[in-house]
């Protein structure tokens, strides 16, 4: 029984870690008011063997290096074994901040929050939440 639990735990963690991003693409557009619209597409792929990702949530949180909030966007997802899902985000950078970024006076930081439950059937077994931060350049 202990061996079964140990193997199950290892598989749970391996399956959770097998969810990865692929085909990350982005674009930007400036509107008439000078605000910059950032379009980010992220494809999530699951290479899991047994467990599925349920009640998933991917949030992009844009802020300046001074900690000021700029914008956020959230998408939810469910990923079965071997499935993939494409999530599209739109973040708006106000014109005054965009000008400061272009002038290299401030930096934009993108916090990426990923959260999902590892599930088997209808049983939600373990929740994994990951936060990472990416520095966006002024270009």
């Amino acid at each position: 029984m202990g061996l079964l639990v140990a193997v199950g735990t290892t598989t749970l963690i391996v399956d959770a870690a097998s969810i990865r991003t692929a085909d990350m693409s982005y674009g930007q557009e400036v509107d008439l008011d000078g605000n910059v619209h950032l379009y980010i597409n992220i494809t999530l792929i699951s290479s899991a063997y047994i467990f599925e990702a349920r009640d998933g949530n991917l949030t992009l949180y844009l802020k300046t290096d001074r900690g000021e909030f700029v914008d956020r966007d959230t998408k939810t997802f469910d990923l079965g074994k071997g499935e993939s899902v494409k999530l599209s985000f739109e973040l708006v950078v106000p014109s005054e901040i965009a000008l400061d970024v272009e002038a290299n006076e401030i930096e934009l930081l993108l916090d990426i929050y990923l959260s999902f439950w590892e599930a088997y059937g209808n049983f939600r077994l373990m929740n994994l939440s990951v936060k990472s931060t990416v520095v966006l350049t002024g270009e």
Binding site: G8, W117, N127, L128, K131
Partner: protein, 132 residues
């Protein structure tokens, strides 16, 4: 010989539960910059000491102390597992602003993890009397 064996078993249990995890977390931090902020080695060391003492009683020749020692030792192992797993619920990889932060909510899986130790404890409680 019985007592010497029991003492060796007790010390062995204390060493494994007291130091294996500490060695693993120190290695993870020094090699991969993986930090467990909630990791409390002192609390785990106290639990490991109690496990060592109960493991000593589990290996004695007296049937009652063997049964009770085995049962309580496995309950403490379940408690140790629960503590270690909940301490590993927050993992930080790297430094500073761009550090990778992982939070684990073990949900019902943590109860599946501690169940074998509790089940083993019940077996240890009944085994000496069942053999009779």
């Amino acid at each position: 010989m019985g007592r010497a064996k029991a003492l060796a078993f007790g010390i062995g249990n204390f060493m494994i539960y007291g130091f294996a995890l500490k060695t693993a977390t120190s290695y993870a931090y020094s090699e991969f910059t993986i930090l467990l902020p909630n990791y409390d080695w002192f609390l785990l060391a106290i639990v490991a000491f109690v496990i060592g003492v109960l493991a000593f009683f589990q290996e004695t020749d007296n049937k009652s102390s063997k049964a009770l020692g085995g049962f309580l030792k496995n309950l403490m192992v379940a408690a140790y597992t629960y503590l270690a797993i909940t301490m590993a619920s927050l993992i930080i990889i790297g430094y500073g602003e761009t550090a990778f932060i992982v939070r684990l909510n073990w949900g019902i899986w943590i109860y599946i993890l501690v169940f074998p130790a509790i089940f083993n404890g019940l077996i240890h409680l009944l085994k000496p009397f069942a053999e009779e």
